[in-house]
Subunit: 210 residues, 2 copies
DNA sequence: TGAACAAGCACATGTTTATGTGATTGGTAG
DNA sequence: CTACCAATCACATAAACATGTGCTTGTTCA
């Protein structure tokens, strides 16, 4: 028997979901609330397996609720429930340890399936959400890697710049004169199309050159 | 009718899958191959909707095949198929634009469902894979966020530093005197425990302060 | 009400960067 | 063989930065 809790501000939907879930074999709804104002105590008291959490709620919203719960409880499965597949919220929810993310328009049978999946350690997601997550993921981890044709020596200098070394320090670190350091850095600026140390450092991070 | 192509080295499994998919209403298998050596030409010739792609194949493997296909074709849906939910491969596949990732032990009915989901733009994933993806995602995007108690104004200055502005430019951008810019920057250096512009910029990136 | 602090401004001094011009050496590709 | 380029060094100058000291104003919090 999967023990479910419900956070949803719309009374009709809350009732509907409760009836659907509670009326299905293998599921029971322990309690339902219209916002997350006392979420910590409530979850502590009921010890559910899965929590269905609406995002948009007056008072403490779903993301805040999620954070509060995760601050004390890493085990309970939390399924975010929302009308929009809004990029920012999906991102925030995942970042804060949501186990799944489904749209409210999900058909009842599918929803029950999702709850089961969450309970058994899966990560149920509506197709559109899953697509978004994959997209975000590949964006985050894809850098065009222009390389800019930096020579080995130049990369070395850039690395030291990034580590906060002054020209003088770089010179002694690399056993060359400060004027040589200058030449290298000038070349680096040309190749990166920048004209200051901090821009070069910023570019090194942005383009993951090092 | 969803047009499917198959890349799978194991003859039994290849035949089994072909029979399953081709024998189901709404699906047709255009062709199947035992590796990706000529994947570009083959996909060009058949123009499938969905490609089932085994990862582990002799010759050109599934990840390589995926890359080759994506180099010329962004539309066709590619569903990775594997025995392991191996972290590295999942990561690589997603990075390179796979649409889904399912385990071979997936039951036939579920597999057909996944193919349909992929065809209609979804991102089908076996539960264990989805869980992994979420985990990776939250790892990648979780930084301790020390914050360092920067004031709003200080954050603003730091942002402009990162963007490569000089003190003078920051002053005119923020409508304050250059001396005030200096004060702010001094304070920022204290809070971040650094003592140069480039170190501050580097720290801003490392700690994702902005 | 009084301490703490963010935000603003001023002036001074020394260091570091940015930029220009120019030169030597050694390796490599045409 | 020669043209090209990375790596090295030198000298010079102006702009930008780092640091110190000191002052005013307004807000917030105990």
């Amino acid at each position: 028997m999967i023990k479910v809790m419900l956070y949803e501000d719309n009374p009709q939907l809350r009732e509907g979901l409760t009836m659907l879930i509670d009326g299905s074999d293998g599921f029971t709804v322990l309690a339902s609330y219209k916002n997350c104002d006392n979420v910590t105590d409530e979850v502590d008291a009921w010890k559910p397996d899965v929590i269905l959490m609406d995002i948009d709620m007056p008072g403490t919203n779903g993301i805040e609720g999620l954070k509060k719960i995760r601050a004390r409880n890493a085990d309970v499965k939390i399924l975010m429930l929302t009308v929009f597949d809004d990029n920012k919220n999906v991102f925030e929810a995942i970042r804060n340890g949501a186990n799944g993310y489904v749209l409210k328009k999900t058909p009842p049978a599918k929803l029950l399936e999702y709850i089961e999946e969450a309970a058994s350690g899966g990560a149920p997601m509506t197709a559109s959400i899953a697509t978004q997550v994959l997209k975000m993921f590949s964006q985050v981890n894809t850098s065009q890697n222009d390389d800019y044709n930096l020579s080995d020596r130049e990369k070395q200098v850039l690395q030291l710049l990034v580590d906060g070394y002054s020209y003088k320090m770089i010179a002694s670190e690399m056993f060359i004169s400060i004027d040589t350091v200058r030449s290298h850095i000038k070349k680096i600026y040309e190749k990166l199309h920048v004209n200051s140390k901090s821009e070069a450092v910023a570019k090194a991070f942005k383009d993951k050159l090092l």
